[in-house]
């Protein structure tokens, strides 16, 4: 299981951060001010969360005049989509080990 999952899951585990990300997914590009208006936390706190999201490549920023616009980067979510296929592979190999063990065990 690669480290990319770790970063992604940790980043999105925070409910406030996840809410910001969801809003960007649903509503498209937004400025920090627009995000703050409905986030229920201060602008510095919003900026801090956005910085963490940016580090995880979940958002991209764009400067325009004195405003910074943020946009969700959906490609970053690919590892989440792969979760089921990775887990399926994991369990298939565990089942193989289990079958080997059962052959060795007494009734």
């Amino acid at each position: 299981m690669p480290n990319a999952h770790d970063v992604l899951f940790r980043t999105l585990a925070d409910p406030t951060r996840r809410a910001l990300f969801e809003r960007l997914c649903r509503e498209g590009e937004k400025t920090v001010a627009a995000l703050t208006a409905r986030a229920g936390i201060s602008q510095p706190a919003v900026s801090k969360h956005l910085a963490v999201l940016k580090q995880a490549r979940l958002v991209r920023d764009r400067h325009e005049g004195r405003q910074t616009h943020y946009r969700a980067q959906l490609r970053a979510l690919a590892p989440l989509i792969d979760w089921t296929s990775q887990m399926a592979g994991f369990w298939q190999s565990r089942f193989d080990h289990l079958e080997d063990l059962l052959k060795r065990m007494d009734q």
């Binding site: 409910p15 996840r18 989440l80």
Partner: protein, 136 residues
């Protein structure tokens, strides 16, 4: 859309095994046997009991949800900040046992079973599905 997301976020592996359920149950519930096919552990087949699975890539935090000897075993499976539930079902057949493992996460209807999960994942995945449908 909801049905699709439910399906894709659950993993099912199922096999016919030429062994009786009682024997498979031992392999699923005795720590020294679990270690041989899954991971090092301090498992106890007691509801609410917390245990860990250890591998070289990390630790999985678990808690037993249901134990019905020789029939079903279910526990939470938290790794990488993501919670899911693993459920084993043993069904006797004429030649042995049908063993079914289902790992499901993030399903709103199972949210109650997750300790510590705050209901955010289903919403996130719902949002994600919408967005992915749009970008395709």
């Amino acid at each position: 859309m909801n049905e699709t997301s439910t399906e894709t976020l659950s993993v099912v592996v199922e096999r016919e095994l030429p062994h009786p359920p009682e024997k498979i149950w031992r392999a699923l519930t005795q720590p020294h046997l679990i270690e041989e096919w899954l991971m090092k552990n301090d498992f106890k087949p007691v509801v609410d009991q917390r245990f860990n699975l250890h591998a070289d890539w990390g630790t999985v935090d678990c808690q037993v949800l249901a134990v019905e000897p020789n029939k079903t075993l279910s526990y939470t499976w938290a790794a990488y900040g993501l919670e899911s539930v693993v459920t084993w079902t043993l069904t006797p057949t004429s030649t042995g046992t049908n063993l079914r493992m289902e790992q499901s996460g993030f399903r709103p209807d199972q949210q109650q079973a997750y300790q510590g999960a705050k209901g955010g994942w289903p919403r996130l995945f719902a949002a994600l599905e919408q967005v992915l449908a749009r970008t395709d």
